[in-house]
């Protein structure tokens, strides 16, 4: 894999909850404060049982940025 691979292009990250979306509104918290400046990708498949989700404070399944800039 190359650098930057698996980073799904054109997805925006919610500055509030870090959820990734291709829409203009965050599917998780409804915020419109989105940015393309994000890195690291977390896919939460099973939010109830995932230890990672717990540690990152993520409560619903989906794609999230690890870090959102600004």
């Amino acid at each position: 894999m190359e650098r930057g691979d698996w980073k799904v292009p054109r997805l925006k990250a919610c500055k509030r909850c870090k959820a990734l979306t291709s829409k203009e509104v965050c599917p998780v918290c409804g915020s419109r404060d989105l940015t393309i400046n994000w890195e690291g990708l977390v896919a939460i498949v099973d939010p109830v049982r995932s230890e990672l989700a717990k540690r990152l404070g993520i409560e619903s399944s989906g794609l999230y940025a690890l870090r959102v800039m600004e």
């Binding site: 894999m1 190359e2 650098r3 930057g4 691979d5 698996w6 980073k7 393309i36 400046n37 890195e39 690291g40 990708l41 977390v42 896919a43 939460i44 498949v45 099973d46 049982r49 995932s50 230890e51 990672l52 989700a53 540690r55 399944s61 794609l63 690890l66 870090r67 800039m69």
Partner: protein
């Protein structure tokens, strides 16, 4: 890959890609068997031999973010965000105080153009001194910001 993890009823709980550990994905699952099945369904992926990575190790990795970039004058960086994304640039003045901005001259462009870039928008491409085959004219005044220009 994520879709597969969801739809195939595997015991996959999460998948994470950490920027500082490029090229690897970490899959959280109950059993290695689940990971193995996921990996076998993705042509470009393969499972590394060895024991599972603990959640503590993952957390350590996450804490290590953000990656610190040590930049010096003369380094070549690649711009990965913003208006100049995709360009390479030559560092003219490195960030001071550990954080902030670098001033760099854009390469791959027929103009003498200096820009100020936040350090998180660049990636180190080549350290100063490792430069090879660069077609830069040495007469270019890229110290202009330092008061050398007439």
């Amino acid at each position: 890959m994520v879709k597969r993890a969801e739809y195939e009823g595997l015991g996959i709980k999460s998948i994470i890609s950490v920027p500082s550990v490029r090229g690897y994905l970490f899959v959280e699952a109950d059993r290695e068997f689940d990971v193995r099945r996921l990996v076998s369904a993705v042509s470009r992926a393969k499972l590394l031999p060895g024991s599972p990575v603990s959640m503590e190790d993952i957390e350590t990795m996450l804490r290590r973010e953000p990656e610190k970039i040590e930049l010096e004058t003369g380094d070549i960086v690649k711009i990965i965000k913003g208006n100049f994304k995709g360009y390479r640039a030559l560092v003219v003045s490195p960030p001071t105080g550990g954080k902030g901005f670098v001033t760099a001259k854009l390469l791959d462009i027929n103009r003498d153009w200096e820009v100020r870039l936040p350090v998180d928008s660049i990636q180190l491409e080549k350290k100063a001194g490792e430069v090879e085959g660069e077609e830069e004219s040495e007469e270019e005044v890229w110290y202009s910001g330092l008061g050398e220009s007439a």
